[in-house]
């Protein structure tokens, strides 16, 4: 059962108690973003993080990082999870990204075209992957950013159940099926 079917069923069960507006809004893919005030990121930093996350995992036929609330997850990790030195390195890296982008393009990251932004991040990505392969202890900013984005996205309800598959429809184990017959998508994992 996918989300659409689930919602239809809920609507039926409640005998129309959910307003048609809400059901239609949800069915047509509209979801108001959860409202929250970031605790570590400033409003500007939050916008930057939201934009970068969406560039890593964009909206396609399924919602991307923004709608999945990845920046809120990143703010949580920066506030309650990472040691202070990692948090500080991340924030310094974010500031550095803005400075470098300014220097190169003469405008802020948020003002860049999406291809300028993507090219810029692709370079940071290669550096970060290099550092990861060299087992550098202090992962550079973009390494942290990408990791948090992927974790935040694929463990969100959107990422796990819409982009990937969360749980099989049957309650059996079958070990060798044609990929297409299993929906052609990866399992999100059991957690």
């Amino acid at each position: 059962m996918n989300r659409r079917e689930a919602l239809k069923r809920v609507a039926l069960l409640l005998g129309g108690a959910i307003s048609a507006h809400v059901v239609n809004a949800v069915l047509s893919g509209y979801r108001p973003l959860p409202r929250y005030t970031p605790r570590t990121l400033s409003a500007e930093q939050n916008e930057l993080v939201t934009t970068i996350a969406e560039l890593i995992i964009p909206t396609t036929d399924t919602p991307g990082a923004k709608e999945a609330g990845v920046s809120q997850f990143i703010d949580l990790l920066l506030t309650e999870w990472y040691p202070a030195k990692d948090r500080d390195r991340f924030l310094a890296g974010l500031a550095d990204l803005e400075t470098q982008f300014q220097r190169k393009h003469g405008k802020g990251f948020l003002q860049g075209t999406s291809s300028e932004q993507a090219d810029f991040l692709a370079k940071l990505d290669l550096e970060a992957i290099g550092a990861r392969r060299a087992r550098v202890k202090e992962l550079p900013f973009f390494g942290m950013m990408k990791e948090m984005t992927l974790v935040g996205y694929y463990t969100s309800e959107i990422g796990a159940t819409e982009e990937l598959q969360f749980r099989p429809a049957t309650d059996r184990y079958e070990g060798c099926l044609p990929l297409e017959s299993v929906g052609g998508r990866a399992w999100a994992g059991v957690g």
């Binding site: 949580l76 993507a118 309800e157 184990y173 060798c176 999100a188 059991v190």
Partner: protein, 569 residues
């Protein structure tokens, strides 16, 4: 006054200490044989189904997306969080290390993984079940490490049958002499890559076998329990009751007799020993919540508080006759602690099945039975005894994206697809019994309930280290024979304890001078005290031990009740 109290006191036929895998079995066997039994459990009550509070939760429903509260884990769960099954979804089934401390030599870490609650670690276990054979029961006699087991396979075989028939073990019949077949429910299925690896290993290495894991998970309805749904997160509890746990299986059976009393939050502090009668009279208990001291009396006492839990109680029960711990005239109580060396093996990519996938989360893997030191022709000159491999294949998930270059639409599209098939195999090895691996009571430090802390001294010897090298090398060689790519042999840092197969410290033996228990898990010195958990083990073999604990427990209960009926206890 004292006499009046004694005259009034209630005496149970039996007291069972602990409610984990062995305590559950003892309660079932004793009550079904008519004994009024009191089960004492130090932890909180857990209700089957209702208390599996995280069972159906998706990652997004956990505050840290099931990645865990790192700061809390570091501060309060530094040991438990080393266990693969520990996390945001299961923390409530592990002890808080800060509240339940123990000590060890600074340079000899020991990772003691515990679950203090009704059901104990039966809720957490990986459910792998492999019988031992005479290769294992004769090992000590053969090479002289440890003392000879007082039993052989024929003594325990009917009890394996018995506990397997009730628990429900799925597996395949293979006819391997040193890994005897059991009473199996239908086996689970292997996936494409595992079948590939099986075929190639068995061809390249005649005599080796790769079989599906033998696991205490129901593949068909059994004993009123539902079959497995292949959902996967078993460590959170299973409302279907599809895997064997105290709560799904033995406790309901024991309760059905009407003869069981369960008391949770009851920390058994020590055994009350009656010098005149030369018997145990009961146990002293500290109420976990009120810290009040209570006494309970029983004709026979079964210690099932887990390997180190039971030994801690015996060590803490000194009397003038037993100044170094109850039933310790031999002086070996606390000694010969073992675990299994593991976390050495190899991983590799299996190519050629890119268009294939699996459906369902199989709570089980594969097993490669021991192939070293079985006989002269399989002798490895570098170490004694041997190891078996567990493992499995799966396709990489989105996590691979973290170390993969790329971003944007194409990247997202790639991660929507499953990645490479990766096979891993890792060894579980035998740990030689050694006197110098032991536990004692800390002479100074006590916990908040006044129990002296356990002080653990344990380290791997050269034998285990050499064996771990072979685990990695042989695993890589087998994957190579399968044509695997990107083979990665690994040997991880792995302190003893982390395999959670801690065993020994109140071993069985033939001679009261060198062992604590006889062939029926009965204390040589105090015949109405039985120890039927892992403390009883005389050697460690390399198989996951719990099914053997179950068989020994059921066998000891049968024996104890027969002895009671004959007036011998």
């Amino acid at each position: 006054m004292n006499n009046f109290y004694l005259a009034q006191k209630k005496v149970y036929d039996a007291i069972v200490v602990g409610s984990g895998i062995t305590g559950g079995w003892a309660a079932k066997e004793l009550t079904e044989r008519g004994l009024k039994t009191l089960m004492l459990e130090r932890g909180r009550p857990v209700e089957h189904r209702t208390d599996y509070i995280t069972e159906d939760m998706g990652d997004w429903e956990f505050k840290f997306r099931n990645r865990g509260d790192r700061r809390l884990f570091e501060a309060e769960y530094p040991k438990q969080s080393q266990c693969y099954a520990f996390g945001e979804a299961t923390r409530h089934f592990f002890v808080n290390d800060k509240e339940n401390p123990y000590t060890h030599d600074p340079d000899k870490p020991f990772t003691w993984i515990r679950g203090y609650h009704l059901g104990g670690r039966s809720l957490l276990w990986g459910r792998q079940c492999y019988r031992w054979s005479d290769l294992d029961f004769e090992a000590n006699a053969r090479d002289g490490f440890g003392v000879d087991w007082p039993i052989r396979y024929k003594d325990i075989a009917p009890w394996y049958d018995y506990v397997e028939s009730f628990s429900g073990i799925s597996g395949s019949v293979e006819g391997i002499p040193h890994l005897p077949d059991g009473k199996f429910l239908p086996p689970m299925e292997m996936n494409c890559a595992e079948r590939h690896v099986k075929e190639h290993i068995e061809k390249a290495f005649p005599g080796r076998k790769l079989i599906i894991g033998r696991v205490a998970v129901l593949t068909v309805p059994h004993q009123g329990r539902e079959r497995c749904h292949y959902c996967g997160p078993c460590h959170r509890g299973c409302s279907a009751g599809a895997y064997f746990s105290t709560l799904s299986s033995t406790l309901p059976a024991a309760r059905a007799t009407g003869k069981l009393t369960v008391r949770c939050n009851s920390i058994v502090h020590s055994i009350i020993y009656d010098e005149k009668k030369d018997r145990a009279a009961g146990v002293r208990v500290i109420d976990r919540e009120t810290k009040e001291t209570l006494e309970f009396y029983g004709k026979v006492i079964f210690l099932c508080a887990s390997t180190l839990g039971s030994t801690q109680i015996l060590l803490n029960s000194s009397t003038p006759r037993f100044p170094n711990g109850l039933a310790n005239s031999s002086g070996v109580l606390g000694h010969y602690l073992m675990d299994h060396p593991y976390q050495a093996g190899a991983t590799g990519e299996i190519h050629g099945y890119e268009d294939k996938y699996y459906s369902g989360n199989r709570p089980n893997g594969i097993y490669i039975p021991r192939f070293r030191n079985l006989d002269a022709s399989s002798k490895n000159p570098n170490y004694l005894r041997g190891f078996g491999y567990q493992g499995g294949a799966s396709r990489e998930g989105w996590q691979r994206g973290i170390a993969m270059p790329g971003l944007g639409v194409e990247f997202k599209k790639q991660l929507r697809q499953p990645g490479q098939w990766v096979m891993w195999i890792g060894g579980w090895g035998e740990h030689l019994p050694r006197y110098e691996n032991y536990v004692e009571l800390d002479p100074v430090q006590k916990d908040q309930w006044g129990m002296p802390l356990l002080k653990i001294h344990c380290a791997w010897s050269d034998n285990e280290n050499k064996m771990r090298e072979d685990m990695a090398v042989s695993a890589a060689a087998m994957l190579e024979a399968c044509g695997a790519k990107n083979i990665n042999a690994f040997i991880s840092e792995n302190p003893p304890g982390l395999c959670i197969h801690e065993m020994g410290t109140a071993r069985m033996g033939r001679d009261p001078k060198t062992s604590v228990l006889n062939a029926f898990n009965q204390c040589h010195d105090v015949p109405n005290v039985f120890v039927t958990d892992g403390a009883a083990m005389t050697s460690s073999a390399c198989q996951n031990p719990s099914i053997t604990y179950m068989a020994l427990t059921a066998r000891a209960c049968d024996y104890a009740v027969k002895q009671m009926k004959r007036g011998k206890l």
